[in-house]
């Protein structure tokens, strides 16, 4: 089984990174001051720090860091579950078209000049609808073979990408087009208590759902027919996994745009650390994904004078990292 040291690391790492992201930034705050501000919310200690510092830490950095954690954790655990279900290490969370559909939904909301809340709701709804469409398309003879799911996902994603391009084409190039483009590049700067309230429930619910199914994902990864012979109701299980990952991914995309590569790369890192067993891999992916996105967002906030879009960083760091992993493992899944 997994060493206690690894378990401790998996719990402490995201929390330490979370804490660090509260005092690191363009406006430096002393770590001790952050600790006192946090404690001051619960304990009667003298409030001897400037009001503006408290606002930065609690109103700006904390929601953003929490969102980064949950989005990173959610995307990573979804990717791990999908890679198990599709028995394929190249699968990511957007395989069934959720990202493309959510992106189009967000573009529509921006075209219609909706506010941020409406945008998030529309993007979330489109994401769910896109995956629903994929699932219906993949259904043959009362079952959904994995290959049909993948192919239907490609079709649906291509369709929504085309719609998205159409939306961009008709968008006002002075105001709407840049808004759509920036939104699609991904960012956490829309993080607020409101967006946390919207995004966290689906992400938490989906993650708990996936954690509950983690042994069954092991069995499912032996292939549909074998899993059925082992007593697994594969259609229900696959449906459950799809619902959970879609809730997570649609919620993530709807609040922070398209953040690629997390769902693809993090499960591989997890497998290197704790092995392929989904009982350990799913919790590990949560932890590593949370840490990774916090770290990425830290770079996004601080590396240049203006913020760097998340999608650019996750790909710029994720792709070479994945290349390194591939070379190291030579394509085996360990």
């Amino acid at each position: 089984m997994i060493k206690p040291r690894t378990v401790a690391l998996m719990i402490l790492l995201p929390l330490a990174t979370l804490y660090a992201s509260l005092f690191i930034g363009r406006f430096a705050v002393h770590p001790g001051e952050v600790a006192r501000i946090l404690l001051g919310q619960f304990l009667p200690i003298p409030h001897d720090w400037p009001r503006s510092v408290e606002t930065i830490v609690l109103q700006i950095r904390l929601p953003r860091a929490i969102l980064a954690m949950f989005v990173g954790a959610g995307l990573a655990v979804s990717g791990a579950a999908y890679q198990g279900m599709f028995r394929n290490p190249l699968v990511s969370t957007d395989i069934l078209g959720v990202t493309a559909a959510s992106g189009f939904g967000a573009a529509v909301a921006l075209l219609l000049s909706q506010n941020l809340i409406a945008l998030q709701i529309i993007a979330f709804a489109f994401g769910l609808a896109g995956v629903g469409l994929t699932y219906l398309l993949a259904r043959v003879y009362r079952s959904t073979p994995v290959l049909m799911l993948v192919l239907s996902g490609v079709v649906v994603a291509a369709f929504f990408s085309a719609l998205l391009s159409g939306a961009k084409y008709v968008a006002d190039p002075e105001s709407k087009l840049p808004a759509i483009t920036y939104w699609l590049l991904g960012s956490l700067n829309a993080a607020s208590v409101t967006s946390l309230k919207m995004a966290l429930p689906p992400i938490i619910a989906g993650s708990i759902g996936l954690l509950c199914m983690r042994w069954m994902i092991n069995v499912l990864s032996m292939g549909d027919e074998e899993a059925r012979a082992l007593g697994v109701r594969t259609e229900w299980l696959k449906g459950g996994i799809i619902v959970c990952t879609t809730l997570i991914t649609a919620a993530a995309v709807s609040v922070c745009g398209i953040v690629g590569w997390v769902g693809l790369v993090i499960p591989h890192v997890g497998r290197m650390l704790v092995g392929p067993d989904h009982r350990a891999l799913l919790p590990a992916s949560l932890s590593i994904g949370a840490t990774y996105l916090l770290f990425i967002d830290y770079i996004a906030r601080t590396a240049s004078a203006s913020e760097i879009p998340l999608g650019i960083l996750t790909a710029m760091i994720g792709a070479p990292f994945f290349a390194m992993l591939l070379r190291k493992t030579r394509g085996s899944w360990e």
Partner: protein, 269 residues
């Protein structure tokens, strides 16, 4: 004779328009190894999958211990019947013991995972096929023969009433064939009921039980192996000349029955 453990009645199956077999009646008795042989494409693997519930019959019924299997859900069925597939494609490098533990899945709740007791059952199953020394190894690293035995252990961990083996020696070399067959024989001696398809008629002579010779369309001849497997029946079923021979074994002096095709190339006659 006691009541059969499995009763197949009027079984028919077709892939779309293509009828694979029809009108199949078959009884399997507790404690026997029923070997189903027949030419490629006669439907023996399909019949096995229908009995195991992996495929649904177009017509007919399969009863196990007087329960109609089509009325059971996947979980209840998996507690009664275990299937060893011919074409297993490995996925992630799970440790051997985890793979065997998957046999406990029909006893778990939908969100459950194997308990310490389940793992103990899996260890025992692994012990029974003589693979305990490999329990921590990734099962993707094993040879084809070893992997087959690990998957056999997984079927044992299911603690089923009957184990269905689909061509358990396909793709194995001589030594690994014998190794697998020995394990199957050891299980047979302990009274495990098995139905096994094979492309090699010789294997039917090895086990305590009957042989079923299947012809395209599903007509079956079932009986003691020496009665079912004869020069005439095999020649007719496979459409080539076949002889059933008997030789003395050099080690024990016992008799070894086997059959061989005549290999008569046209130009050498």
């Amino acid at each position: 004779m006691s009541a059969p453990l499995i009763e197949v009645r009027g079984a028919a199956f077709s892939f779309g328009e293509h009828a694979v077999f029809g009108g199949v009646d078959l009884d399997v008795y507790s404690g026997e190894v029923l070997t189903i042989l027949g030419p490629n494409g006669c439907g023996k693997s399909t019949l096995l999958r229908c009995i195991g519930g992996a495929l649904a019959l177009a017509r007919g019924t399969v009863h196990l211990e007087n329960v109609d299997l089509s009325t059971l859900d996947a979980r209840a069925r998996a507690r009664k019947i275990a299937l060893l597939f011919q074409d297993h494609s490995p996925s992630f490098p799970y440790p051997v013991l985890d793979v065997v533990s998957m046999g406990r899945t029909p006893y778990l709740s939908a969100f459950g995972a194997p308990s310490a007791q389940d793992i103990a059952i899996a260890e025992e199953a692994l012990e029974q096929v003589g693979m305990s020394h490999l329990k921590k190894r990734p099962y993707t690293d094993l040879s084809g023969g070893e992997r087959q035995l690990v998957l056999l252990a997984r079927t044992l961990a299911q603690q089923p009433a009957v184990i269905l083996l689909d061509e358990p020696t396909a793709h194995l070399d001589f030594k690994n064939q014998v190794r697998s067959l020995r394990q199957i024989g050891a299980l047979a001696e302990r009274g495990v009921t098995m139905i096994m398809t094979t492309h090699d008629p010789n294997q039917a002579f090895l086990f305590p039980g009957r042989a079923a010779l299947m012809r395209p369309g599903g007509s079956l001849t079932v009986g003691p192996p020496p009665k079912v497997i004869t020069d005439e029946s095999l020649s007719a079923a496979y459409g080539i000349g076949v002889s059933v021979l008997s030789v003395g074994r050099p080690d024990s002096g016992g008799e070894l029955k086997f059959c061989t095709p005549w290999y008569n190339w046209p130009h050498k006659n």
